[in-house]
Symmetry: D2
């Protein structure tokens, strides 16, 4: 496990919400992080789809951790703002949020993210949400 | 309890995520809905604040239900998109999300929302997040 | 003319785009700036309304200048990001963009804005666009 | 010239703002449109860069026209909302806005866009702005 993966994994383990949502860190690359979350009635909105808030939570964390892989040494990352478009109902067996860094400076980074929905047994996914976000580097 | 309150309350009760987050419907007026959520380690990000995703979840639902109070008869509401700015760390004993309808037509509505953080024993709040959202009316 | 008004007015005069759009600085208060733009075929989209880009330009500048009234001494302001909802067709004789600071720190500020459309001879306006923006303070 | 290109080109010619900004339609493909705009002091903000509003105007039109290539027969396109992140100062000899359709239904489409800045004589570009937008199909 690389130092970069370790840095992200320790931070992820400290996010109570990720545990509450049943999410797990699926992949950490330089500038890209993936988080997976199984579908559950505990995450639903009123029609049975995954709630926009649950979908947003994992892609926000994925973008934040993507930014963390590019953050200055000793810095943590907090979300300044994001925008999400919901392209279709979040239906599936599991969801994978992919966050990528588009550009990063000394004080902030801009990321894009998407959430992919996988139906049971399917290899192919459908993108259910798109994020564009600004992450800020902070010294805790 | 008014028909409008009842319409929102039944819908809210069907959102698994609201229960998971410990959120409750606090107020329903024509064009404005409030949702309250106590702070909890189960909702935290890595520094112990409420996670941006938890904060977003309640203000998304508050905006959606504000739109529902103006939705055509028989319609439900789903989120098309939103944008959130996080103004300061989400620290407090409890959070109240306020969603308001700015304009609503036959097929969609635009809402603004904010999340207020209350410290223990304090009457005054600090706004920790601002939302601007588009809600779409759908016939289930 | 106050030092604050003067600071904004000199900066505004240096924005070539404001002149190109026929916009003028209408009001400068602490934390709030208004910019007015007469409707013109030169600003139109294909249906004859004011183009979303023209509407956005004046409310972006209004938000930026609202932030400038709260910027640290010697700092200029640039736009980090914004989001705009268009509530109705931008029809009118003139448009007034109002930008307000919601919160400002040492390095950035969050603003909200709206664009008001005035029909010929009318005292009342309709809000045609809503903005939520992040402005960054820079030392030129 | 294809029917699709013709449909976009006629619509573009009716946008007064595009002429005012000196913008021209550079490319029309199914689901993707490019608009080019030369840098000019008439488009500047106070530091001499292209104003965020000018940059936004061309990428808004590029996204709108990308949506138009997927719009139902007889429909026009208007912008419901967009969000733009500005990644770096908009410096260059010319700017090319690229708008792409991510998904489109019967009543609306979601698009992403970027604005590329070309320095004098350079083949390579830098992305100065990222857009995520919702376009609505209307019957004029």
């Amino acid at each position: 496990m690389s130092a970069m993966h370790d840095r992200v994994a320790r931070n992820f383990a400290a996010q109570g919400l990720m545990k509450t949502l049943g999410a797990r860190l699926a992949r950490v690359d330089d500038g890209e992080v993936q988080i997976e979350m199984p579908a559950s009635p505990a995450l639903s909105q009123q029609l049975g789809y995954a709630h926009a808030g649950a979908v947003t939570s994992i892609v926000d964390s994925a973008c934040g951790y993507a930014a963390l892989t590019r953050a200055p040494e000793g810095c943590d990352v907090v979300t300044a703002e994001f925008k999400v478009n919901f392209l279709r109902p979040a239906l599936g067996e599991r969801f994978v949020a992919v966050g990528k860094v588009v550009s990063a400076g000394k004080t902030m980074g801009v990321c894009t993210g998407e959430v992919r929905a996988y139906r049971e047994g399917a290899q192919e996914y459908k993108v259910v949400a798109l994020m564009q976000a600004t992450m800020v580097f902070v010294r805790p």
